[in-house]
């Protein structure tokens, strides 16, 4: 089976973000970068599928500037066979339709049987790219998977809906699956696998070889949220904080009266 997993490198969400001079994106220096959390589940599921089937080939793809190679290397160390880096220094200016078009242009010649993506990215969170890739390739796209199985040329997923409800959905391959948090337990690359990964194929292709579409969205600005919060902020020594909190709970709530 021929498998593709599409990933994105995003900043660590614990970071303190500074708005860039352009006013439409954040300053990229001083940030720690990692694989989008949802995509780690996608990589793990792709590797598990490859292990289940045996005779398979697993490609990992990402789009972005030179730094994204780190995300590809980690994916190779987790068990992907080969990597494709679509080189684009301005990937953050592309809209979801352009990102999906780029992936679909690569995938359409390769006849992948199963394609995995995260259900959304942590930085932009549009939730569009996976579904758009499926639609552009005219294959079924099953979203928000929290369980995945592949048998006899068909994939079955449990989609996570709201309020603890799940839906069971099945499609014949080729198919695309978008992965929700908690789908599996992503592995940590071991040292031997990190060493092995260094010998695996990592190809580069310029984005313009694949992308031929204009953006459908115009980014106007990036801002900090208005501080709606009127939270009283308490800082200091733990023992003082404890006393203050107990005082506030007594005054503002009835919960300590009992």
């Amino acid at each position: 089976m021929n498998i593709l997993v599409c990933i994105k490198q995003v900043p660590d969400m614990e970071s303190r973000f500074k708005i860039a001079a352009s006013g439409t994106w954040f300053e990229e220096s001083d940030l720690a970068w990692r694989i989008n959390e949802y995509d780690e589940f996608a990589v793990e599921q792709a590797v598990q599928l490859k292990e289940q089937l045996g005779d398979s080939d697993l490609t990992v793809l990402t789009i972005g500037p030179a730094r994204v190679k780190e995300a590809l290397k980690k994916s190779l160390a987790m068990g992907c066979d080969r990597a494709l880096h679509v080189v684009d220094d301005a990937a953050h200016e592309k809209d979801p339709f352009q990102i999906a078009s780029t992936i679909a242009a690569f995938a359409k010649e390769k006849s992948f049987d199963v394609i995995f993506t995260g259900m959304q990215s942590q930085d932009r969170g549009s939730g569009q790219v996976g579904v758009l890739v499926g639609e552009l390739l005219n294959i079924p796209a099953l979203t928000t998977a929290v369980e995945f199985a592949c048998e006899d040329g068909a994939v079955t997923v449990r989609r996570e809906l709201e309020g603890g409800l799940k839906a069971v959905v099945k499609a014949q391959t080729p198919a695309l699956v978008t992965c929700q948090l908690g789908l599996n337990t992503p592995r940590y690359p071991t040292l031997p696998n990190i060493m092995k990964a260094k010998k695996k194929e990592l190809l580069e292709v310029p984005v313009n070889d694949l992308l031929n579409e204009e953006s459908r969205l115009t980014a106007l600005s990036l801002t900090y949220p208005e501080k709606k919060g009127s939270a009283l902020i308490l800082e200091g020594e733990i023992s003082d904080l404890v006393d203050k909190v107990i005082g506030i709970l007594k005054e503002k709530t009835a919960v300590l009266a009992k």
């Binding site: 708005i19 449990r158 839906a167 459908r216 990036l222 801002t223 308490l234 909190v245 709530t253």
Partner: protein
């Protein structure tokens, strides 16, 4: 703007979220029609045109067929804006409709500004403003971002039927097994987030909950990691709660979590990051490491 609002229906019931879509259109003073896959027995109460596809023939889940029906309704309505809720149904369908219409999609809108649409970015730490560069636009609305319209009136129904084959097979729903606790009934909830650091530390959250006379809960990452059972998860995919006191321990405040607890009467948050989004809903934010603060508070309460 002429909007087509795509209402939601599941397990034989109209979903209340449909009224948020109507609230959005009313807030913008936009002309609107509705579309839904549903039943004549479960019509939204609104004075508007409703394109209705009968759920018994088209099914509750069949994205390629539902896409065709929405396109047909959008065409009949002359809609330039197709509006979904940013839900498991909305984010599944919206990109399919957008692509078929060569339209931009704007996801998880929290506000409409003079220039465009305001969206969260980077786990709600930032906001983006974007506008559509296409003739038609598909938008999905963040749950709870727009005030639901009051039900009232009766729709003018036009039935749609379509028979396109789907490329997916729906195998039914599964409800999470009832657990040991119904957080919806708890008056005090103390919830653990990523900030607790490791599974053993969940015990200090349980201890604090006990000292306060409440139940303990958790945010999604803690449940996904298997540290706390799913029936204790607070958020849109877990339980929506509104206790008298909610204590958020090391929870940064992802949108899905906030939507599940922001109606609590009093919210105490403990977090090392005072810029964390939990600050938007908290009454009191204690800037501290929960691993130090929780045992100290428990000891004092028990003392």
């Amino acid at each position: 703007m002429k909007a087509l609002l795509v209402g939601e229906y599941r397990e034989g019931k109209l979903l209340e979220s449909t009224y948020e879509l109507i609230g959005f259109a009313k807030q913008l003073n936009a002309e609107f029609d509705l579309f839904m896959v549903g039943s004549k027995d479960q019509l939204p109460q609104v004075d508007a045109k409703l394109y209705l596809a009968d759920v018994t023939t088209v099914g509750e889940y069949n994205p390629s067929l539902h896409k065709q029906l929405i396109l047909e309704a959008a065409d009949k309505a002359g809609a330039d804006t197709i509006v979904f809720l940013h839900s498991s149904s909305g984010w599944d369908l919206a990109p399919r409709v957008a692509l078929a219409l060569n339209a931009a999609q704007v996801s998880e809108v929290v506000e409409v500004t003079a220039d465009g649409y305001l969206l969260p970015a980077c786990n709600a730490k930032l906001r983006r403003t974007v506008k559509s560069a296409t003739a038609k636009t598909v938008v999905t609305l963040q749950g709870g971002a727009f005030m639901a319209a009051d039900p009232g009136g009766a729709p003018q129904v036009e039935e749609l039927s379509s028979s396109a084959d789907g490329n997916t097979e729906f195998g039914g729903y599964e409800q999470a097994e009832a657990g040991e606790v119904d957080l919806g009934k708890a008056e005090i909830i103390v919830s653990a987030g990523r900030g607790v650091g490791k599974p053993e530390n969940v015990e200090m959250i349980q201890a604090l909950a006990k000292a306060l006379g409440g139940e303990y809960g958790a945010s999604r990452p803690v449940v996904d990691a298997g540290w706390v059972p799913h029936d204790r998860q607070v958020g849109t995919t877990g339980q929506v709660v509104s206790p008298k006191l909610y204590v958020a321990c090391g929870i940064s405040g992802a949108i899905q979590h906030l939507a599940g607890m922001k109606k609590s009467e009093f919210i105490l948050a403990i977090n090392t990051d005072k810029d964390a989004p939990i600050n938007e809903v908290a009454d009191v934010l204690v800037v501290a490491d929960i691993k130090q603060f929780a045992p100290a508070l428990t000891a004092k309460l028990e003392g």
